[in-house]
């Protein structure tokens, strides 16, 4: 399916007595990586969870117009990848990768061979029958990435998906994600400016209370960008300063 542009207009989210954001406008351009940065607690995960329909409406007041171009049912077309890999300890690597199909009772041979191909691609061909307990954190998050890809959805929402990994593994996973998610509309929430600059086609900073979005930052060059690029490192410095300022205001 063609990756859609997603537009959120007049977004408002309140928890109990707290306004997270109101009057928020946010666009995710089609088939590109959008990164969302911000100080912790500002509501960037909440914004992602709003798009994923994961906010419990019992404790929150939500109002937002979400439209897509071309028009699709967003709930049926997202894949979600969180910071925790959320692998099921009773399923093998291969079974975990196929979770989406299993839950829909649609696991078949075709799915299986697609899963094996992708697991090979991320270097897990020797671990297909292992259980998550036997894997390292980086390997587990790779399985989660494969699981996300196998859902074959045009929209991918990633909530700090690589935050729990060590620096080197994180770079590897970023490269894999940039390569494998290239044709999808992706939102990546992260607290790491370098990560945003490496794989973001555009970057937004969310700050303040109620939270406001910055103007988009569009780094030059194709993703994944090199970490030694001088322009990129200068932008990282500026972004860090911006995040620091945002924190002192909040």
């Amino acid at each position: 399916m063609q990756a859609p542009t997603i537009q959120l207009t007049n977004g408002a989210l309140h928890f109990a007595n707290e306004t997270i954001f109101e009057n928020l406008h946010f666009t995710l351009p089609a088939a590109s990586f959008t990164c969302l940065l911000g100080p912790s607690g500002v509501g960037k995960s909440s914004l992602l969870r709003l798009l994923a329909n994961l906010i419990d409406e019992k404790n929150a007041y939500i109002s937002a117009d979400i439209s897509t171009e071309p028009q699709i049912n967003l709930q049926e077309n997202i894949a979600y990848m969180a910071q925790s890999d959320a692998l099921m300890p009773w399923l093998t690597v291969l079974q975990n990768a196929m979770l989406g199909a299993r839950l829909a009772h649609k696991a078949n041979k075709q799915q299986r061979s697609a899963a094996i191909d992708l697991l090979k691609k991320v270097g897990l061909e020797n671990h297909l029958e292992k259980y998550p307990d036997e894997l390292s954190g980086g390997m587990r998050q790779r399985v989660a990435l494969v699981r996300t890809l196998l859902q074959d959805k045009p929209v991918v929402l990633m909530d700090e998906s690589f935050s729990a990994l060590d620096a080197i593994t994180r770079l590897e996973l970023q490269n894999l994600a940039a390569e494998l998610l290239a044709d999808k509309t992706v939102l990546l929430v992260t607290h790491d400016p370098l990560e945003a600059l490496r794989i973001g086609d555009q970057i937004y900073v969310l700050s303040g209370q109620p939270a406001k979005l910055s103007e988009p930052i569009v780094p030059a060059g194709a993703i994944p960008r090199s970490t030694t690029d001088a322009a990129l490192l200068r932008m990282q410095g500026e972004l860090l300063q911006q995040l620091k300022n945002a924190k002192t205001i909040a």
């Binding site: 959320a86 099921m88 979770l99 839950l103 307990d133 929402l157």
Partner: protein, 248 residues
């Protein structure tokens, strides 16, 4: 192996202590028989003891199976239907609040002297630990798994069978282990209040005739039965739930 050795050492020391007390205070066998006498009785009366073990074993196993099954069904009902949570949960707690010992005579009146009243006594004792342990596990599914399943548009049934139930199996296992340890107690209580056979019946009879050595022999048989049952269930569960790692 280390475990068996430890068990043996513990058992042997306790027996030695016991034998020492009997010698030291020169206790007559109708007050406290020596372990040697008890084992002699066990050996000589092994035919009688085995004959009385069979009904108790049957009651215990049936009570364990039906008590566990009904406990599991109750937990599944509680997690699946909100009205069940509101109306069944208090019933569950009441079932545990009533002392089983006190209603055992009633159960004999209602279900007779035979097998049924003992199985039901054991079931009542097992029902609560199994249902609460399993229900707790079903309720405490990791939120991140449920969130993931929700974004995959999984049906409630798929979430229950493929996520909640497997996630709750370690909790269910704790409930089942406890059930295995208390099932024989249920059967024995049932036999005490009214029966014509079984180890509980044998104990009461031996007690009445001051055959304390036979009573002890029956008591040891019950203990051995409980231990074997508990460790068999434990062994089975560990194989059924291999992902539950022990952390010490």
């Amino acid at each position: 192996m280390k475990f068996l050795l430890r068990l043996f050492i513990i058992g042997f020391s306790l027996l030695l202590l016991w034998q020492g007390i009997v010698w030291l205070f020169k206790l007559p066998p109708y007050i406290l028989p020596s372990p040697i006498l008890v084992f002699k009785t066990w050996y000589l009366q092994s035919g009688l003891i085995w004959q009385q073990t069979k009904p108790t074993l049957l009651e215990t196993l049936l009570g364990l199976v039906f008590g566990s099954l009904s406990g599991m069904c109750a937990a599944l009902l509680l997690i699946s239907f909100k009205p069940a949570r509101l109306w069944l949960l208090p019933v569950l707690v009441i079932s545990q609040a009533i002392p089983t010992f006190a209603i055992a005579p009633l159960l004999v009146v209602w279900f007779g002297y035979g097998l049924a009243s003992k199985v039901i006594t054991a079931m009542i004792m097992i029902f609560f630990p199994v249902s609460t342990a399993f229900y707790d596990g079903l309720r405490r599914t990791k939120p991140e798994w449920l969130a993931l399943a929700k974004t995959m548009n999984a049906s409630r049934f798929a979430v229950l069978t493929q996520i909640r139930i497997p996630a709750a199996l370690p909790n269910l296992a704790s409930g089942l282990r406890m059930a295995a340890a208390i099932a024989p107690i249920g059967a024995i209580i049932g036999e005490w209040v009214g029966s014509s056979q079984g180890l509980g019946f044998l104990m009461l009879n031996a007690n009445g005739r001051m055959e304390i050595n036979l009573m002890f022999a029956a008591l040891f048989t019950i203990t051995a039965l409980t231990l074997i049952l508990y460790y068999s269930v434990d062994w089975l569960l560990k194989r059924a739930i291999p992902w539950q790692k022990e952390q010490n």
